[in-house]
Amino acid sequence: MWDNINVYFDILHKLLPAGWMTIKILVTSALLTYLIAFIAGLGRVSQFSIIRTLTMIYVELFRGTSLLVQMFWIFFALPAFGVEFSAFWAGVLALSLNYGAYASEVVRGSILAIPKTQTEASIALNMTRWQRLKLVILPQAFRIMLPGLGNNSIELLKGTSLVSLITLGDLTYRGLIIQNTNLSYTVPVFILLLILYFIIALPLIILVRRLEASASKGVAKV
């Protein structure tokens, strides 16, 4: 199977445009995921109980049900209620709402991990609620949430393969088509898929490590 290197190049050539689609889905949903994560994460620690309750319902609803079913709902079922999305936006929306729910727990957890004494110190300096959050709590919480959010975005990348099931031409979708048309390509297709997903994940992994290093500057080693 390794004898014909040309087969690999041939398949790679067909897969690359689909890789671009996967990256587009990944980047769009990642941005939306973190936006949602921050809004929901802050909502979970809001001083208003109504906001806390609403965001909790959202988080538990989207964590507690299957991502694939959510995607099917948005793409296949919502049109029945007059709400229609393209396959791309249906996929992005489902991914973002689902991973945003998980990531919001990371945001919430890291905000709660900052000792109460930090809030007390900023109250003693008469900072407003927003200043306490912006100047004191979030910069410290951010450092704690980076590894979690990094993992989350790598998970998200792998989750993007589900969009192949709502007809979106991503890596997995294209790979399955190539494999279906020529079953002898099965092994090369899946080897290449693994490698391509890993190559896309690699910058994420490096980025997270960089961010961790720069964000931990303030915590000096004694």
């Binding site: 930090q118 110190a121 109250i123 003693a124 900072m127 407003t128 100047l135 004191v136 000096a220």
Partner: protein, 264 residues
Amino acid sequence: MTKNPVQNQPLVKYEKVSKKFDDLEVLKGLDLDINQGERVALIGPSGSGKTTIIRMLMTLEEPTSGIIKVDGTPLWHKEVNGKLAPADENHLRKIRGDIGMVFQQFNLFPHMTILRNVTEAQVHVKGIPKDEAEKRAITMLEKVGLGEKVDAYPLQLSGGQQQRVAIARAVVMQPKIMLFDEVTSALDPELVGEVLEVIKEIAKESDMAMILVTHEMDFARDVADRIVFLHGGLIEEQGSPKEILENPQSSRLQSFLKRFLSTT
């Protein structure tokens, strides 16, 4: 000790202030006045309510009942149509600006340099331009002996140094009253002296009022105009340092001081 001419109105007035934590009544109807520029040391066994007294003034704990007035204005209450309603955050912020606090555990911001620790609130809370705020911060840090550490991060400093930064951070905001919550309790014994010296120095140079919760009797004697001995959520005895430390009247104060002196 420099002092403002004491005005008729006390700077801080506790009126029948009680505080309950669940079933535990920490303060039982405290009445206490702090005058402009006055230095008051709070002493007493643990659980006597000393720390709660200053935490309520710093708006970190809400009294269960009673009224605390700062410059005649109720702190935790707002007058609405002649009636007292619970204060909102805006009201608390208005009064809180007159109050500063130094904590037992320093509570510096670990992600900021020393300079930013002392600059940040000046800029964002008081609206002082950054250049000027930094100048003031450096002057203040030099005063507490840390002029060379401006670029360090808190965790690179010793406990005593961190606590001196915390003092600078609070004093640079120029409050009318400073609260010190057992500021040397978390320090190694050899670091206690440098922190107490800095507080004495600031006490000498400024006319801020101070409430000092402390276990350091010599320090209380040096700095305080008045010592208040608390026991079981009430004031048991108060008076000048001389009266309290050398001629205690109540048997509780006598035994407290005796126990205290025998352990140090």
